[in-house]
């Protein structure tokens, strides 16, 4: 059954590269790479999945961007309550899955780096340049993303703006790349008539199918190792999930009261919540809020950084509070925190959320008085919203 010519072709590339380079002391050439991993059918398949991963990242990232900076035409529903938790979880999980896919894709096409002449004509130069942009943007997005979820800021720029700008560059250059390579992609993805045309490599390591399986396995391992940050079933399985169960009241904290410098104001006996409506300003003490009709909701805190935690919140419905202050549910509400400076010390609750019965000014979390780090004396908790918009230590609500 052994077919020596095929076996030779399938032998592992590095072996050939090293043999050729060391003996003749020359840089490797494209034809030196003969591993099955460099076959266009492998490239096309890994490329397809990498493209899907980036498309999911782009769409979910765009949604998250619009929720945080909504254009006039955009509305985001309050139901189902887990919607943002799912879209943002998908964003981070598909990003993690894309890391092994990108590396496999680049290993598959690595020989092309050595194709000569370096530039054949202006169009060819443009194509090679566009691939540098594509790979630069892809690494930028995955690299800054994975460091950002670890809150490990190896940069001085503002992450959301840069990550958002380069997302357009990445998706744009992917589309241009697909346009250029479409004939090759179609050829690479078409099913072959004979199912078993590929012998096992006799001198190399992995066959084409073996390389693909290894890629899927590495991607799967990457997802399982991290997805516990948001998938409850994997919480105790994922060794590299960036959240733990050690947060107060079972919920992680993204900014402590100390870091926000609100401890004194939040625990002051004369704390009053101000609600500004066209009818005037109403003030509520913590006792007033506790005396109002209390509602309970099971809602997740879903961070833009991809972790999430479901919890039981209770407090005053924003709809009830608006009525008590002489306004109506369905208006948009500007929320101001006791925190003076932070980027996320203010937020705007859109009308779809102020009308939703699950949107609360929470006073209690998982059966206890709200911990100081979770926003004591009162915080916003609304369904299907990014955690950064669930403003803590609320001082004032202004009807807009």
């Amino acid at each position: 059954m052994r077919r020596p010519t095929h076996a030779l072709k399938a032998s592992f590339s590095a072996f050939n590269v090293a043999k050729a380079s060391f003996s003749a002391l020359r840089p490797p050439e494209e034809s030196d790479f003969r591993s099955a991993a460099h076959h266009e059918r492998v490239t096309a398949r890994v490329g397809l999945w990498l493209g899907i991963a980036f498309a999911v990242c782009f769409v979910t990232g765009l949604l998250s961007h619009f929720i945080q900076q909504p254009p006039a035409w955009f509305t985001w529903p309050a139901e189902p309550v887990n919607l943002y938790r799912i879209t943002q979880g998908l964003h981070v999980i598909s990003g993690v899955a894309a890391i092994p896919l990108l590396l496999a894709k680049l290993w598959s096409v690595f020989p092309k780096l050595f194709s000569r002449p370096i530039v054949r004509n202006p169009l060819h130069a443009l194509e090679r340049g566009s691939i540098l942009v594509l790979s630069g943007a892809a690494f930028f997005e995955l690299g800054t993303g994975i460091f950002n979820v670890a809150q490990n800021y190896l940069w001085g720029f503002y992450f959301p703006t840069a990550h958002y700008a380069v997302a357009w560059v990445a998706i744009g250059s992917i589309l241009v790349h697909v346009a250029v390579k479409l004939p090759v992609i179609r050829r690479g993805l078409v099913r072959l008539g004979a199912p078993e045309e590929e012998p096992a490599p006799t001198r190399g390591t992995l066959s084409r199918r073996g390389f693909l399986r290894n890629t899927w396995l590495a991607s799967g391992a990457a997802v399982v190792a991290t997805a516990g940050a948001t998938v409850p079933l994997l919480r105790d399985v994922s060794p590299l999930a960036w959240r733990s169960n050690k947060g107060p009241q079972g919920v992680p904290v993204n900014k402590t009261a100390r870091a926000a410098r609100v401890t004194e104001l939040a625990t002051a006996a004369d704390f009053r919540l101000e609600v500004l409506t066209p009818a005037g300003t109403s003030r509520f003490s913590l006792a007033d809020l506790t005396a109002m009709r209390q509602a309970t909701a099971e809602l997740p805190i879903a961070c833009v950084e991809g972790w999430s935690q479901l919890a039981t919140w209770s407090g005053v419905r924003i709809a009830d509070l608006l009525r008590a202050a002489g306004s109506e549910p369905g208006v948009s509400l500007y929320v101001v925190s006791l925190e003076r400076k932070g980027l996320y010390s203010r937020s705007t609750l859109p009308g779809t959320h102020t009308a939703d019965p699950d949107t609360l000014l929470a006073l209690r979390l998982n059966g206890e008085t709200l911990a100081l780090d979770h926003g004591y004396p009162c915080r916003i908790i609304a369904p299907s919203r990014p955690g950064v918009l669930q403003t803590k230590w609320v001082r004032r609500l202004e009807v807009q």
């Binding site: 591993s35 589309l175 992995l206």
Partner: protein, 142 residues
């Protein structure tokens, strides 16, 4: 197909232009910012083409030289998965600039977690290697 290609190209160029315009707003703010964004943008391809891919090649070479055939695939797969897991652990293990303490975030024992995960990966690889080795010998005897 020509229409599809033109559609992809036009949409892609428009998105690239928009991204470039947004990106310009980020980097034109200061020289320092321009340097940092450019470093992150160019750093990936440079690090990959200059270091990661050559290392993959050399490790592959070592595999074909020194690892017996039935063991090559399990060892290669385990090496790839180990490298990916280690890569994902870097931002959690290496904090050159320190981060604020946030209870419930980034406070697990990642070194032990990674070690256990790598242990599981290599136990699977060794088990697979033994099975393949036995099958290989069986085939050779038959």
């Amino acid at each position: 197909m020509r229409i599809a290609r033109a559609g992809f190209a036009l949409a892609g160029l428009a998105m690239l232009a928009y991204g470039g315009w947004l990106g310009w707003a980020v980097i034109s703010a200061s020289t320092e910012r321009a340097v940092q964004v450019t470093a992150w943008f160019v750093g990936g391809p440079l690090l990959h083409d200059g270091l990661v891919a050559p290392v993959v090649g050399v490790v592959g070479l070592a595999l074909t030289r020194w690892v017996p055939r039935p063991w090559r695939a399990p060892v290669a797969v385990a090496a790839v998965v180990s490298a990916i897991l280690t890569l994902l652990a870097i931002p959690l293990l290496w904090h050159p600039f320190g981060v604020g303490t946030n209870p419930g975030l980034h406070d697990r024992d990642y070194a032990t977690g990674l070690a256990v995960a790598l242990g599981v990966v290599w136990i699977c690889a060794v088990a697979t290697g033994f099975v393949l080795g036995r099958r290989h010998r069986g085939a050779a005897e038959a």
